[in-house]
Protein backbone atom coordinates (compact mmCIF):
# COMPACT_ATOMS: atom_id res chain seq x y z
CA UNK A 1 0.00 0.00 0.00
CA UNK A 2 1.10 3.58 -0.66
CA UNK A 3 1.01 5.66 2.52
CA UNK A 4 1.17 9.43 2.76
CA UNK A 5 2.17 10.83 6.15
CA UNK A 6 1.08 14.18 7.61
CA UNK A 7 2.75 15.36 10.82
CA UNK A 8 1.19 18.32 12.65
CA UNK A 9 3.05 18.36 15.95
CA UNK A 10 6.59 19.36 16.89
CA UNK A 11 9.41 17.14 18.19
CA UNK A 12 9.83 15.84 21.76
CA UNK A 13 6.89 17.62 23.42
CA UNK A 14 4.50 14.93 22.24
CA UNK A 15 4.93 11.53 20.67
CA UNK A 16 3.51 12.37 17.21
CA UNK A 17 6.83 12.63 15.41
CA UNK A 18 8.11 9.40 17.01
CA UNK A 19 4.87 7.57 16.22
CA UNK A 20 5.05 8.70 12.61
CA UNK A 21 8.67 7.59 12.37
CA UNK A 22 7.88 4.20 13.91
CA UNK A 23 4.89 3.77 11.61
CA UNK A 24 7.02 4.51 8.56
CA UNK A 25 9.79 2.14 9.66
CA UNK A 26 7.28 -0.65 10.27
CA UNK A 27 5.48 -0.02 6.98
CA UNK A 28 8.71 -0.10 5.00
CA UNK A 29 9.78 -3.34 6.73
CA UNK A 30 6.55 -4.92 5.57
CA UNK A 31 7.11 -3.86 1.99
CA UNK A 32 4.73 -0.89 1.82
CA UNK A 33 5.59 2.34 0.04
CA UNK A 34 5.84 5.72 1.71
CA UNK A 35 4.65 8.17 -0.93
CA UNK A 36 5.87 11.13 1.07
CA UNK A 37 5.93 12.94 4.40
CA UNK A 38 4.47 16.42 4.89
CA UNK A 39 5.13 18.63 7.92
CA UNK A 40 2.49 21.20 8.84
CA UNK A 41 1.65 23.32 11.90
CA UNK A 42 4.38 22.90 14.58
CA UNK A 43 5.45 19.81 12.65
CA UNK A 44 7.86 22.02 10.72
CA UNK A 45 10.14 22.13 13.79
CA UNK A 46 10.94 18.44 13.33
CA UNK A 47 13.55 19.13 10.65
CA UNK A 48 15.49 21.87 12.46
CA UNK A 49 19.16 20.89 12.16
CA UNK A 50 20.09 22.98 15.21
CA UNK A 51 18.51 20.48 17.57
CA UNK A 52 21.14 18.90 19.78
CA UNK A 53 19.59 16.55 22.33
CA UNK A 54 21.61 14.70 25.01
CA UNK A 55 23.61 11.83 23.52
CA UNK A 56 21.50 9.12 25.08
CA UNK A 57 18.34 10.47 23.38
CA UNK A 58 17.21 10.16 19.80
CA UNK A 59 17.91 13.04 17.42
CA UNK A 60 14.57 13.57 15.72
CA UNK A 61 15.67 15.83 12.87
CA UNK A 62 18.59 13.52 12.07
CA UNK A 63 16.19 10.59 11.81
CA UNK A 64 14.01 12.45 9.30
CA UNK A 65 17.09 13.40 7.32
CA UNK A 66 18.16 9.75 7.20
CA UNK A 67 14.74 8.74 5.89
CA UNK A 68 15.05 11.47 3.26
CA UNK A 69 18.44 10.05 2.26
CA UNK A 70 16.70 6.73 1.55
CA UNK A 71 14.69 8.51 -1.12
CA UNK A 72 11.50 9.33 0.78
CA UNK A 73 10.17 12.73 -0.23
CA UNK A 74 10.04 14.85 2.94
CA UNK A 75 8.34 18.21 2.55
CA UNK A 76 7.98 21.10 4.97
CA UNK A 77 5.11 23.56 4.46
CA UNK A 78 6.54 26.95 3.51
CA UNK A 79 3.76 29.03 5.10
CA UNK A 80 3.98 27.19 8.43
CA UNK A 81 7.81 27.26 8.26
CA UNK A 82 8.08 30.99 7.56
CA UNK A 83 5.84 31.78 10.51
CA UNK A 84 8.13 29.74 12.79
CA UNK A 85 11.54 30.80 11.52
CA UNK A 86 12.30 27.59 9.68
CA UNK A 87 14.07 28.17 6.36
CA UNK A 88 16.65 26.52 4.12
CA UNK A 89 19.46 27.71 6.41
CA UNK A 90 18.23 25.65 9.35
CA UNK A 91 16.75 22.49 7.86
CA UNK A 92 18.56 19.17 7.80
CA UNK A 93 19.75 17.72 4.45
CA UNK A 94 17.39 15.56 2.36
CA UNK A 95 14.22 17.48 3.16
CA UNK A 96 12.71 20.33 1.18
CA UNK A 97 10.45 23.32 1.76
CA UNK A 98 7.43 23.64 -0.51
CA UNK A 99 3.76 24.62 -0.58
CA UNK A 100 0.50 23.08 0.59
CA UNK A 101 -0.10 21.95 -2.98
CA UNK A 102 2.34 19.16 -2.11
CA UNK A 103 0.02 17.98 0.67
CA UNK A 104 -2.83 17.87 -1.80
CA UNK A 105 -0.69 15.88 -4.22
CA UNK A 106 0.21 13.49 -1.41
CA UNK A 107 -3.47 13.10 -0.54
CA UNK A 108 -4.34 12.37 -4.16
CA UNK A 109 -1.50 9.94 -4.85
CA UNK A 110 -1.51 7.90 -1.63
CA UNK A 111 -3.84 5.00 -0.94
CA UNK A 112 -4.08 6.25 2.63
CA UNK A 113 -3.05 9.54 4.22
CA UNK A 114 -2.19 9.01 7.88
CA UNK A 115 -2.09 12.03 10.20
CA UNK A 116 -0.08 12.30 13.40
CA UNK A 117 -0.54 14.88 16.14
CA UNK A 118 -3.48 17.24 16.03
CA UNK A 119 -3.10 18.11 19.72
Amino acid sequence: MKFGILIQDGPYNHEASDSAYNFITAALERGHTIQGVFFYNDGVYNVNKLMDPPQDDRNISKRWSELGAKGIDIVVCIAAAKRRGINNDVIVPNVRISGLGQLLELAVESDRLITFGTG
Binding site: L6, Q8, Y40, N41, A79, A80, G99, L100, G101, L103, L104, A107, V108, L113, T115, T118, G119
Partner: protein
Amino acid sequence: MAEKEKTKIMFVMRKAAHGSIYAYEGLEAILIMGAFEQEISVAFIDDGVFVLKKEQDTKSLGVKEFSKTFRTLEDYDITNIYVDRESLEQRGLSADDLIIPVKVMEAGEIAKIMEGQHVLLPF
Protein backbone atom coordinates in the same frame (compact mmCIF):
# COMPACT_ATOMS: atom_id res chain seq x y z
CA MET B 1 -5.05 13.85 -13.38
CA ALA B 2 -7.58 14.90 -16.01
CA GLU B 3 -9.62 11.70 -16.22
CA LYS B 4 -9.10 10.59 -12.67
CA GLU B 5 -11.92 10.71 -10.16
CA LYS B 6 -11.66 13.77 -7.94
CA THR B 7 -10.20 13.10 -4.51
CA LYS B 8 -12.69 13.75 -1.74
CA ILE B 9 -10.99 15.63 1.07
CA MET B 10 -12.75 16.61 4.27
CA PHE B 11 -11.27 19.08 6.72
CA VAL B 12 -12.42 18.21 10.23
CA MET B 13 -12.31 21.32 12.42
CA ARG B 14 -12.50 20.39 16.10
CA LYS B 15 -10.79 23.25 17.89
CA ALA B 16 -11.94 26.75 18.79
CA ALA B 17 -10.90 29.70 16.65
CA HIS B 18 -8.32 30.95 19.12
CA GLY B 19 -6.21 29.34 21.82
CA SER B 20 -4.32 27.28 19.27
CA ILE B 21 -3.33 27.84 15.67
CA TYR B 22 -5.12 24.76 14.30
CA ALA B 23 -8.24 26.56 13.07
CA TYR B 24 -6.27 29.33 11.39
CA GLU B 25 -3.71 27.08 9.70
CA GLY B 26 -6.56 24.73 8.85
CA LEU B 27 -8.26 27.60 7.05
CA GLU B 28 -5.03 28.41 5.20
CA ALA B 29 -4.86 24.80 4.04
CA ILE B 30 -8.52 24.86 2.94
CA LEU B 31 -7.93 27.97 0.85
CA ILE B 32 -4.84 26.62 -0.88
CA MET B 33 -6.20 23.14 -1.46
CA GLY B 34 -9.53 24.57 -2.60
CA ALA B 35 -7.74 25.97 -5.63
CA PHE B 36 -6.78 22.51 -6.93
CA GLU B 37 -10.17 21.33 -8.13
CA GLN B 38 -10.61 18.37 -5.85
CA GLU B 39 -13.80 17.77 -3.88
CA ILE B 40 -13.31 19.68 -0.64
CA SER B 41 -15.72 19.68 2.29
CA VAL B 42 -15.43 20.99 5.84
CA ALA B 43 -16.99 19.63 9.04
CA PHE B 44 -17.13 21.64 12.28
CA ILE B 45 -17.34 19.44 15.35
CA ASP B 46 -16.86 19.93 19.13
CA ASP B 47 -15.23 23.32 19.87
CA GLY B 48 -14.72 23.65 16.13
CA VAL B 49 -18.21 25.15 15.91
CA PHE B 50 -16.86 28.27 17.66
CA VAL B 51 -14.69 28.96 14.60
CA LEU B 52 -17.76 30.10 12.68
CA LYS B 53 -19.24 32.21 15.51
CA LYS B 54 -20.43 35.62 14.27
CA GLU B 55 -19.04 38.91 15.55
CA GLN B 56 -15.70 37.73 16.86
CA ASP B 57 -13.53 40.46 18.28
CA THR B 58 -9.89 39.51 18.86
CA LYS B 59 -8.53 42.97 19.66
CA SER B 60 -7.87 42.24 23.31
CA LEU B 61 -6.30 38.88 22.40
CA GLY B 62 -3.87 40.58 20.03
CA VAL B 63 -4.37 37.91 17.39
CA LYS B 64 -5.73 38.02 13.88
CA GLU B 65 -9.49 37.83 13.37
CA PHE B 66 -10.03 35.43 10.47
CA SER B 67 -13.61 34.21 10.77
CA LYS B 68 -14.79 36.47 7.94
CA THR B 69 -12.42 34.70 5.56
CA PHE B 70 -14.72 31.67 5.71
CA ARG B 71 -17.12 33.70 3.56
CA THR B 72 -14.71 33.22 0.65
CA LEU B 73 -15.15 29.43 0.68
CA GLU B 74 -18.09 29.93 -1.67
CA ASP B 75 -15.73 31.45 -4.25
CA TYR B 76 -13.79 28.17 -4.21
CA ASP B 77 -17.00 26.20 -4.74
CA ILE B 78 -16.67 24.77 -1.25
CA THR B 79 -20.32 24.56 -0.30
CA ASN B 80 -20.40 21.27 1.58
CA ILE B 81 -19.95 22.75 5.02
CA TYR B 82 -21.29 20.56 7.81
CA VAL B 83 -21.83 21.44 11.45
CA ASP B 84 -22.59 18.91 14.16
CA ARG B 85 -25.95 19.75 15.74
CA GLU B 86 -25.12 18.42 19.19
CA SER B 87 -21.82 20.36 19.34
CA LEU B 88 -23.72 23.56 18.50
CA GLU B 89 -26.43 22.95 21.08
CA GLN B 90 -24.02 21.98 23.84
CA ARG B 91 -22.41 25.39 23.40
CA GLY B 92 -25.66 27.33 23.34
CA LEU B 93 -25.36 28.12 19.63
CA SER B 94 -27.61 27.71 16.63
CA ALA B 95 -27.08 28.08 12.89
CA ASP B 96 -28.18 31.73 13.21
CA ASP B 97 -25.07 32.47 15.27
CA LEU B 98 -22.74 31.38 12.47
CA ILE B 99 -21.07 33.61 9.94
CA ILE B 100 -21.87 31.49 6.87
CA PRO B 101 -24.72 29.19 5.84
CA VAL B 102 -24.02 25.60 6.86
CA LYS B 103 -25.67 22.20 6.83
CA VAL B 104 -26.48 21.32 10.44
CA MET B 105 -26.42 17.53 10.76
CA GLU B 106 -26.56 14.72 13.25
CA ALA B 107 -23.24 13.09 14.20
CA GLY B 108 -24.30 9.86 12.51
CA GLU B 109 -24.97 11.64 9.22
CA ILE B 110 -21.58 13.37 9.33
CA ALA B 111 -19.96 10.02 10.11
CA LYS B 112 -21.52 8.55 6.97
CA ILE B 113 -20.16 11.41 4.86
CA MET B 114 -16.75 10.85 6.45
CA GLU B 115 -16.86 7.21 5.40
CA GLY B 116 -17.23 8.33 1.80
CA GLN B 117 -14.09 10.50 1.88
CA HIS B 118 -10.70 9.55 0.55
CA VAL B 119 -8.91 11.78 3.03
CA LEU B 120 -9.75 13.35 6.40
CA LEU B 121 -7.58 16.24 7.57
CA PRO B 122 -8.02 17.04 11.28
CA PHE B 123 -7.48 20.56 12.61
